[in-house]
Every structure is written in C-alpha cells, then in structure tokens.
C-alpha cells in the first residue's frame, strides 16, 4: 500500500516537473560545485587531446611529411626523366627520319668527351672498329655535317669537327650550284673559299656538301652563309658560313659507314 502511494506521488512529481521545467534551487548549487571541476576536467582532457593531436600526431605527420617529400622527389625525378626521355625520343626520331632519307648504313654514337684545350677542337665518340667505324668516315647528325673520324680504336673514335681550324670539306651553294671549299676557322664558324665574287650569293644561302672531296656524300647540309665580302683584286669572294650543327650541345652523332665502302667499290 505504501509502495503504491510512493509510486503515485513520484508520478505526480514527474508530471509537474515535466510541465513546468521547474528550476529547482539545489541544481544551481550542484552546477556551481561541479562546473569548475567539469571545466578543469574538460581542460585536462582537452589538453591531453591537444597533446595527442599536436605532438603524438605530429610524429605521424612527420613520417607522412617525410614520405610525401620522398614521393615528391620521386615524382620530380620521374618528371625530369620523362622530360629527358621525351627530348631523347625527339632527337632519335629526327635521327631515324634523317637515316631513312640517307639510305646508308650508319652507326649511332654518343659524344663522351671533348678536346682538353681551346686551340684544337675534337671529341671522342663511343663507337670504333668493332662497329665498323674507320678513319676518314664522315660524322653527321640530323642538323647536318659534324666532321670526320681522325683516329679510331676498338670501341672509341676521335672526331675532328668541321669548325676545327683548317678542317676542309668540299662544299656547294645550294641555290646557284657554285662549288668551293669550306674551311673551319677554329672559332665556331667556317670560311667558304673559291666562290666567285660578284655572283648572286647572298646572306642566308644554304651551303651543302658537294661530294667532290670523296669523304662526304653530296647534298648534306653544312650551314648558312652569314656574310659575303668581295675582296679587292681577287676573283673570289670572302664568305663566312655558320654551321647548322650546334656544336656546344652535341650529344648523339651518326657515322656514315657506307660512304667509304661505296668509294672503294667504285674503284
């Protein structure tokens, strides 16, 4: 009976409390007592949380950062490698197109070193007698003529570039077919000798190999006329030719194997 009464009183109390949302005075005291503790507890937990996030998590972030940096450097390396591959691919494509035009047996080679002084130009390539290369063979690339093999070993060969001092090639002006001799000046350009003065040769005219020297096949591009001066008292004009080949950035070259064999077969 007593229990039933207590239950009824409780229900009534709850019903009144639900309806009025009564602010019971004791709650305020309890809140003001517990609040600071809660605040301190919250601060503590928050602090721990912060330490966890900002310190312990930093360890993870550090690892992640390190990993990301590695991935970035890997990506940059890959990017550089791909760019290099793309450039190499472009050069090789140009070489292949040029090789198809030439219709000759050729050997590709890389430039591995340069002459150790400024007076005499030369460079070493990584192909030699084992590849069929011999002294006197012409060296070209898709831009034009580079020079000639002057010394050879089993796997390496020395090339004298056309711009080297005193190196000569049989040349021809493409437009008017006049032939002369192209001589290296040692300064990165060449002189074109024995071309008649007062002719119709002008700056920008293309100079090609004449084939008359028995070394270079006719029709290979040599360079472009950059200056023409008529010499007083001479029947020949003074001409400067800028080679098409950029000797400063030479990387791959092509040795023309067939030319010499054809010459010998023709004898």
């Amino acid at each position: 009976m007593c229990i039933i009464l207590l239950i009824c009183v409780n229900i009534v109390f709850l019903a009144v409390a639900v309806r009025r949302h009564a602010n019971v005075g004791v709650q305020g005291y309890i809140i003001s007592l517990v609040g600071p503790l809660q605040n301190a507890g919250h601060g503590f937990v928050d602090g721990i949380n912060n330490i966890w996030r900002r310190y312990f998590s930093l360890v993870g972030t550090s690892y992640e950062n390190h990993e990301l940096k590695q991935q970035l450097s890997q990506a940059l390396y890959e990017n550089a490698r791909l760019k290099e591959s793309e450039l190499a691919y472009q050069r090789v494509s140009q070489f292949l197109a040029f090789k198809q035009d030439l219709e000759m047996h050729t050997v590709m080679a890389k430039v591995i070193s340069y002459a150790p002084n400024a007076w005499y130009d030369a460079f070493i390539i990584n192909c030699g007698t084992s590849d069929g290369v011999d002294v006197g063979m012409p060296v070209v690339n898709y831009q034009g003529v580079i020079g000639q093999i002057v010394a050879v070993s089993g796997n390496y060969a020395k090339v004298a570039p056309m711009v080297g001092h005193g190196n000569a090639i049989g040349a021809r002006i493409q437009s008017n077919r006049q032939s002369g001799i192209l001589i290296g000046s040692g300064e990165g350009v060449c002189r074109l000798e024995y071309i008649n003065s007062g002719g119709d040769v002008k700056e920008g005219d293309v100079v090609i190999t004449s084939g008359l020297d028995g070394v270079y096949p006719a029709g290979l591009k040599l360079g472009e006329v950059v200056s023409v001066t008529d010499r007083e008292g001479s029947v020949f004009a003074e001409m400067t030719v800028m080679p098409y080949v950029n000797f400063a950035v030479l990387q791959e070259v092509m040795v023309l194997i067939d030319q010499m064999q054809r010459d010998f077969e023709g004898l």
Binding site: Y114, H165, G166
Partner: protein, 172 residues
C-alpha cells in the same frame, strides 16, 4: 709508388679536362697538367720525370684535336727549363711556382700558336680571342698553379714516407 701517384693524378686531370672541365668553366681553365709537369720536373730525377711526362703527353695528344706530338713537344720542352730553373730558384717559394706555372701556360700557347702558324700560315683572331684567352689562363695559373703544385708535392712526399715506414715496420 711516386710514379703511380703522379701517373694516376695526370690521368685524373686528363679525364677531368676532357669530360667537361673546359665545357663548364670555359677557356679560363688552363692546362692543369702544367703544375703536375712542374712538380714532376722539380721533384723527380730526369729519367723518372720523363717516364711520367712522355706517357701523359701521349694521352693528351690522343684526346686533343691537334697534330699528334704537340703536347709531347710542349711538356718535354717545358721540363728542361723547369728542371734547370729549379736548381737555381727555391721551389718552396709560392711566387717561384706561380711564375713557373705562368711560364708553362705561355710556353704551351706559344707552341700551339706556332704549330697553327706552320699548318695554316696564320693564327686566327689572335688579338680578339687568343690574347685575352692566354691572359686569363695566365692569371688563373698564377693563382691556382702553386696550390696544385704544393698539393701534389706534399701528397707525394707523404705517400713516399708512408711507404717507407710500412717497409721499415715489415722488416722489423
């Protein structure tokens, strides 16, 4: 041991010069074999010096685009006056070695110009290109020649004493 040391050094210099030292630094870089030739000439006896100089010159001739023998001529003819001068002047002096280096650079360029004059009758652009090049190389040789010389000389002396001590301890 000293022979191997100088020969390896010469080989390293030749490779460095041919694979890109001149490409990177341009014509300011003189022939770095000159301080080595001076060191070999000063420190070694005549036959020892020639035994180093001749193969080194042949290597340089092979790598160069010039007529074969141009380096051989230069180095061998550089060796004799340096040898004689080293008997008259103290080779411990930085100034003396600097002057020897400049002398070497001038002599080498003179030989190159002379050979070019013989082969083609003229030395192209002497005033505009060659003369400034030689001046730059002389300045560079004056500054760095003694550094290379003393580095080689002291390394060689240290190596020789090390080998001597090793032998002495082995005998003991």
């Amino acid at each position: 041991m000293q022979y191997i040391f100088f020969f390896v050094c010469a080989l390293v210099i030749a490779i460095l010069e041919s694979v890109g030292l001149t490409q990177f630094f341009g014509s300011i870089i003189y022939d770095l074999q000159i301080p080595l030739i001076i060191a070999v000439s000063v420190l070694g006896r005549v036959y020892f010096s020639l035994a180093v100089i001749v193969p080194v010159a042949i290597i340089m001739d092979t790598l160069s685009g010039g007529p074969f023998g141009i380096y051989l001529t230069t180095y061998v003819w550089l060796f004799f006056p340096i040898k004689v001068l080293s008997l008259l002047v103290s080779t411990r002096s930085w100034l003396a070695v600097a002057l020897f280096s400049v002398l070497g650079v001038l002599f080498e360029n003179f030989i190159f110009a002379f050979v070019q004059l013989l082969s083609s009758g003229n030395v192209p652009v002497f005033k505009t290109v060659i003369l400034p090049l030689v001046i730059r190389q002389c300045v560079m040789a004056f500054v760095t020649g003694p550094i290379i010389y003393f580095l080689l000389a002291r390394s060689s002396t240290w190596l020789t004493s090390l080998v001597a001590e090793e032998r002495k301890s082995n005998h003991a």
